[in-house]
Amino acid sequence: MAAPAVPGAVSRTAALSWLGSAVRWWPLGLIAIWLLVIAVPGLIAPQNPLTLNLSNTLGAPSAQNWFGTDEAGRDLWSRCVWGVRYSLGISIVIVFSAAAIGTLIGGLAGLMRGWIDSLLMRTTDVFLAFPYLILAIAIASAVGPGLTTVVVAMTAVWWPGYARMVRGQVLALKELAFVEGARAAGTSTLMILVRHLLPHLLPQLSARVSMDVGYAVLALTGLSFLGLGAQPPTPELGAIIADARSHLLEAWWYTTLPGLFVLAAVISSMVVSDWLENRTKGQFAR
């Protein structure tokens, strides 16, 4: 069904199609915004999150301090911006590491089968037997609170999920001819995984990774809330909310507003994940 040729309608259709693309690709803009916040937080938060101002403690939101101030007079808005930068940044690192480790383990288990498969999968099962937050708490408490701890603990909690998922996909994929061909050509198992199978794994992986970033942010703030993550005076959203507890009744902004940042970050990750899943829907199943 050819579109009727109307002179002058050309530029309009071009503009509309550009708009259509923009609408369809808008989640990328979301990613760009967050990356900007992580890289250059000073752009939207000019004040220093660490500067004490004891003359203005627990101040309500104002033109100067959009989110008010905390008990040490620090500007809450900047603390939140820096905090979400920390949360998002760390979460991205964690999830990517976990995905990499999980893909490696799951892929090897799926390709090599036999006792390696059993061993790796039993280990995965044990990890997955723990409620994820409880395991993170246990590991973090054993290693000692701090940044590295949290990264280690959460990576340890997240990789098994990827291992299982990738193993399942690899099991399905390895029956395909090109894998047998690669084997016959003498390609090492690792190469098969990386060179041949990875492109097929990417669509599902990327959707899951972007979803997990959101969940990781939630878990991370939870750990910090319990005192296991970032240590003072580093601004981290969970820790900020924990500090707000002592001032729950007087300073409503201290409790309520930082959480909105977490919400924003997590919702963004879910939106991006949904979008990725829709875009890559047809591409995986052959």
């Binding site: 246990a138 408490s141 939870g222």
Partner: protein, 333 residues
């Protein structure tokens, strides 16, 4: 089918073994100097050594491991570093509070999640489903501890509708189940029942709000997929209406993945309960663990970890056992 059950059971036991070993490693192998934390910051080497000896930490690792395992089998969770008291009985006093919170949250969230998912699938393009979708997304994105605090502040303090902390404002009813609500009813004590229920509202709401979205989404997706199956066409050809098809036919078939997910999400619930208990000063094992974290009381931390994980493993085992009941095709294998 008995073989199926047996396999699941053996699998669960094996996994539990791994769990226990894992916690041992975390509490005895990973920390650089557990005795140091207990002995205190000012302790000198001699004191640390003495503490280590008193706690049995200077014995060879495998010996400590065996002691640990045999203790657990007998229900002995060791001695708390902080209180020097047996951990097991202490946990037992805190457990009922957590159970009450967890059970109510789970039941409400499961029913709500599935019901909303059904409605969403049924009314696919109407405004109700957009609303459900929006709420789902918001719900999962909430940091549960933050939301609990928000509820505490706005509904509890500012509006005064609900109590802010604790389980009960009066004397507890005589202990039968440990659930204040049930015990109060059993005792015919209506004011206590209402009071206990009122204290439950905010924590349960926080937990349910955080969890329901996943169940809703999965139910909706599963139901919609199931509606494409050929037997739905047969039912339509018999003159069945949408309600009958959904409730009598589709639901039973679509529920399988949802049941699995409910089991897995129980793990979320357990983690979230720790956070929520801290916020509401709820006297459960979450609070117990929080206190143990402050004092680096490893045995206590690990004991709680083991118990909570045990609960999770049991629930997933039950889920595995429910399948044959729901799906007759599995009964044969």
């Amino acid at each position: 089918m008995a073989y199926y059950l047996l396999r699941r059971l053996v699998g669960a036991v094996a996994v539990l073994f791994g769990v226990v070993t894992g916690t041992f490693v975390l509490s005895h192998v990973v920390p650089s100097c557990p005795a140091c934390a207990v002995a205190g910051l000012r302790a000198g080497p001699a004191q640390i050594a003495a503490t280590a000896h008193a706690l049995g930490l200077d014995r060879p690792v495998w010996q400590q491991y065996l002691t640990y395992i045999s203790g657990l089998v007998h229900g002995d969770f060791g001695i708390s570093y902080a209180s020097r008291q047996p951990i097991g009985p202490a946990i037992l006093t805190y457990l009922p509070a957590t159970l009450e919170l967890v059970v109510y949250s789970f039941v409400i969230y499961a029913m709500l999640g599935v019901a909303l998912g059904l409605v969403w699938a049924w009314r696919a393009n109407r405004p109700e489903s957009w609303l459900i979708r929006l709420f789902s997304m918001l719900g999962t994105a909430l940091p549960v501890f933050w939301f609990a605090m928000v509820l505490q502040l706005w509904l509890g303090s500012r509006l005064g509708w609900f109590p802010i902390t604790g389980r009960l404002d009066m004397d507890a009813p005589p202990n039968v189940t440990g659930f204040y609500t049930i015990d109060a009813l059993l005792n015919g004590n209506l004011p206590a029942f209402t009071n206990a229920a009122w204290h439950l509202v905010l924590p349960v709401t926080a937990l349910v709000m955080w969890l329901f979205a996943v169940a809703t989404r999965l139910t909706q997706k599963s139901v919609l997929e199931e509606m494409q199956m050929p037997y739905v066409r047969t039912a339509i050809a018999k003159g069945a209406g949408t309600r009958r098809i959904l409730l009598r036919h589709v639901f039973r078939n679509a529920i399988n993945p949802v049941i699995t997910m409910l089991g897995l999400q129980f793990g979320w619930l357990l983690g979230g309960t720790v956070l929520v208990e801290v916020v509401f000063s709820w006297p459960g094992i979450g609070t117990y663990m929080f206190n143990a974290l402050q004092t680096f009381d490893f045995p206590a931390i690990m004991a709680v970890t083991v118990i909570i994980t045990l609960g999770f493993v049991v629930v997933n085992l039950v889920v595995d056992l429910i399948y044959p009941l729901v799906d007759p095709r599995i009964r044969v294998t």
